[in-house]
Symmetry: C2
């Protein structure tokens, strides 16, 4: 390899080795194009954390080098980190389709200290030169409108970025996959393809939205009372479909849940959702309309605590309570980790006598991602020299590579994860030996990155057995106890019902201090504190088989 | 209904409206037969809790009335509460098959203060009179040997209890379903059937263990190195199958994980697992044997933190580390809530280059429960007058009832949940109007039932944002501050990196105390404490958008 050979770096900061917080950099001669800036939701291991965002330390001090940010579509795992990054990146130009831009703008309202977004609206078919990256945006089917794939001409060769995608020849809202267009890119030659892996482990092809719609219609035909549909607020096309069905069957529609209302408003202003004049009603009006003439579209299909569906099911909603003849439709898949919450919610709804439909009983949700056959088809259309599977857990990337290897088409498919750059040259694609810091960054309240290992570890410990604070006042000179030790605890035992344990612990504390203060030499507050911590912890464990965090407080007067 | 009509109560204390902690009482003229005493594992809502067991307050003071306890099989959701209940119930006679009894006995070792179990070993075909309950035990297929259904003749009519079951005409270990036997019960007339609902929402019939075994064999044929299979330690039949395949393909077998070793030992002593003389080797010996001649059977298919598979994958196992040519087989379904842990473990194994098989890729796990067609078949065989669906979440009980209603066979199928007794008379089955206390009881360390609402609520709060302790020393008379306020916190922020926040909080605390001590009247420690709690909480929220639990400590000297 000659030293002067052109090199382009593909740097994944998020979304490779996980589902969520997608963010990838393309760097050529020190100039950087960013694709997506998403967030992820925390798992159980991160208690109290609101969001997880990519680590952008690689970009610090490089504002001048950032050419801009392209957003493929308006899902939070592609746009959610924007409010945390704009200032840090020097407010770079943001390229996004109208709906994507609309959702991003709306979100900025929640972050008042943000700069005015540097917006460049792009559409299917637009071609824009962004430094050395000549980018053509093209329509890709997904479950949100205005999803754009990227065909990027670069000095080392053409790069195709699929965005999240599925093939759909009969979508419900918006155009079908344009295979001719895809082939035209292929004819120009694809050097590297970055392709969606989220659905790789599912065999076959994804369902068309048409099938979903047909199944939905049978529910509309059979429903005896109100229809309450819960789905993701970002599934604009599904919402459109439910509205159309409601209109067809003479039902008025109530939209419930803040996120749902906001997204529908944005999509409607852009003409992406069409609603007849008298279709929408508000919660209050719904009271005057027969149940058989009412549809409620709401959030909460994941069993979220405060979402509309949960409040309706719990009887905590201001206007609606569940009725026996209601039909509740969960029109979304379950995000891993939410299975129990959804099961419990379904049970609560069934207990009240309503009918429940969910995607395991009937195909009333189509995933937005290409499954194994579609992934293969994309490879066969594009015939890329190289592939990097993107967007997915490691096992999905592996499956994507297996599919690619089996076709015999790409010369090489490499798996890289967050923080592992790949180098693309006119002749080759290989993993860089240098790793980039891509440790996830936690957002908790207004703190970004100030919650990490120790804090989360402590939170988990606290959740396990609570905290036990013992306060003693010592004579400064003699180190003798001047009070009866005070005890405060939370999350450990019912203190009221544990008076014996408390009395014993006080006695034990007295002994510990007596013992520790014996030796003049060692008798300082630090030593006494340490002794208390260790010995009270052991004592409590021996009595309860639990290990609360013991916090000794020693005050000398 | 005449006042003297015979009445039998069916009282579910656990397992109805949930999957787990099965326990049902049959009560006739004040005399009680207990069926199963299981435990459940806590969900996220119960941090730090070890187990959840049924509430037996209904049985308190009624030792004399308890005729005995029948255990259908040796899974923990049927036997796990035994050590917590034996003393409280007056050590009643325990009826169980040899394997079930063996597992129960082994577990008693961990509870040294237990009474000697009052054991009565029963087998397929045994008939025993237990007070007014003439019980015949019969073999039912499941995924553990010695699973017994119950045919119980009572003064109000015959009751059939299916236990957990599936139909399997080609099981791998142990007898096939004996349909003639089932029909013979039917011919005697079934008044009430209590039947397993866990699989009701899955269409079709469960896979036979034979299919699983055939798929397993293809893995054995193709494996390039060691085979590491992870499964539940209670899936004795699967373990037997893996051992037989290992013997067929010339592999030695290492058993890893305490639970796995224990269960295999018990089953082997009972002749339920057959292992050739030189098949088993220990961890150390495995080092001398080629990888292609080694099988490791271990625990950890749920991604459990400390189980053998996790330790092998993490490089923390004393003897084994993962190798590139290893084949890892997850031969079990995923318990809801464990999806992410299993996905992460799979990814870690794949990253190390090993092959991974799991049940979604290939049928290498069969569930142990009758699916919709089998449930229907059981109804058609038994032709019961009445049905109570047991063992399942509410949605499963509902589906079971739908299946039953569709057959047109039972006169009535009623859904009851934990704490909702049903009354069976010679003519009827109906829900009692009286509810029984069936609030779940938490076991945490050595405490049983001492962790409840408040403690769990605090644990969740602590996990969310941690704790913040502020200690002030006041002059007893003037209520003036005598020290600089001390701050201790855990799980809130990195204290070292938050020195400004701490300084501000100290300042704020001084102001609060100054303000609070102004008014002579109100200036007592209690008032100051309250002010501190409220105002420091608000202050911290304004600064961080987090709400740690604030614990003010006020010491007067």
């Amino acid at each position: 390899m000659s030293k002067n050979e052109k090199k382009l770096k593909v740097i994944p900061l998020g979304g490779l080795g996980e589902v969520g917080k997608n963010m990838t950099l393309l760097e050529y001669e020190g100039r950087i194009l960013i694709i997506d800036m998403g967030l992820n939701f925390p798992e159980d291991e991160n208690p109290g954390v609101d969001y997880i965002i990519p680590n952008i330390s690689y970009l610090s001090g490089r504002k001048e080098d950032i050419l801009g940010v392209i957003f493929t579509h308006g899902h939070y795992d592609h746009i959610g980190a924007v409010p945390y990054f704009l200032n840090k990146l020097g407010n770079p130009p943001l390229y996004a389709a109208p709906l994507t831009m609309g959702i991003m703008e709306k979100r900025q309202d929640d972050f008042p200290s943000q700069p005015k977004m540097n917006k460049i609206v792009v559409r299917d078919g637009d071609k824009i030169e962004i430094g050395p990256f000549k980018t053509e945006f093209f329509h890709q089917n997904h479950n949100i409108p205005h999803n754009l794939g990227l065909f990027i001409e670069t000095p080392v060769g053409n790069i195709l970025h699929t965005s999240d995608f599925k093939f759909d020849e009969t979508p419900q809202n918006g155009p079908a996959t344009n295979f001719d267009k895809l082939k035209s890119f292929s004819e120009k030659g694809i050097h590297l393809m970055l392709s969606d892996s989220t659905g790789a482990e599912i065999e076959g092809s994804s369902l068309s939205e048409k099938t979903i719609s047909e199944n939905m219609e049978t529910i509309f035909k059979e429903a005896k009372g109100r229809i309450i549909t819960a789905t993701f607020s970002s599934l604009i096309n599904r919402v459109q479909d439910i509205i159309e069905l409601s209109e067809k069957y003479g039902r008025k529609v109530v939209i419930e849940g803040y996120g749902m209302k906001t997204n529908i408003e944005i999509a409607r202003n852009l003409g992406l959702i069409k609603i007849k004049k008298n279709t929408l009603i508000d919660c209050k009006e719904a009271g005057n309309i027969p149940d058989k003439k009412t549809t409620i579209i709401c959030t909460g299909a994941q069993g979220e605590e405060r979402a509309a569906l949960m409040r309706i099911a719990n009887g905590q909603h201001r206007f609606f309570e569940l009725r026996e003849r209601d039909t509740v439709v969960f029109s979304s898949s379950i995000v891993p980790g939410n299975e129990r919450a959804v099961q419990n919610l379904r049970d609560d709804i069934l207990r009240q006598g309503a009918d429940v439909y969910h995607y395991k009983m009937m195909d009333i949700h189509a995933k937005g991602h290409a499954q194994s056959q579609e992934i293969e088809k994309m490879i066969r259309i594009m015939k890329p020299n190289f592939i990097i599977p993107i967007h997915g857990q490691y096992s999905m990337l592996v499956k994507h590579k297996e599919i690619a290897d089996k076709t015999g088409i790409p010369e090489k498919t490499i798996i890289i994860e967050n923080g592992e750059p790949a180098i693309l040259t006119p002749e080759n694609l290989y993993k860089s030996e240098k790793r980039i810091n891509a440790e996830p960054v936690m957002v908790d309240g207004s703190g970004i990155g100030d919650v990490g290992g120790v804090v989360l570890y402590d939170r988990k410990e606290l959740a396990e057995s609570g905290i036990f604070v013992v306060i003693v006042v010592l004579d400064k000179k003699t180190k003798k106890l001047k009070n009866s030790p005070d005890i405060i605890s939370r999350g450990f035992v019912y203190l009221r019902e544990s008076q014996d344990l408390l009395a014993e612990t006080r006695k034990k504390t007295r002994e510990i201090i007596k013992e520790a203060s014996k030796s003049r030499k060692k008798a300082n507050a630090k030593h006494i504190k340490k002794e208390m911590e260790q010995k009270i912890e052991d004592f409590l464990y021996s009595k309860t088989k639990r290990r609360p965090i013991v916090l000794p407080v020693v005050i000398e007067v």
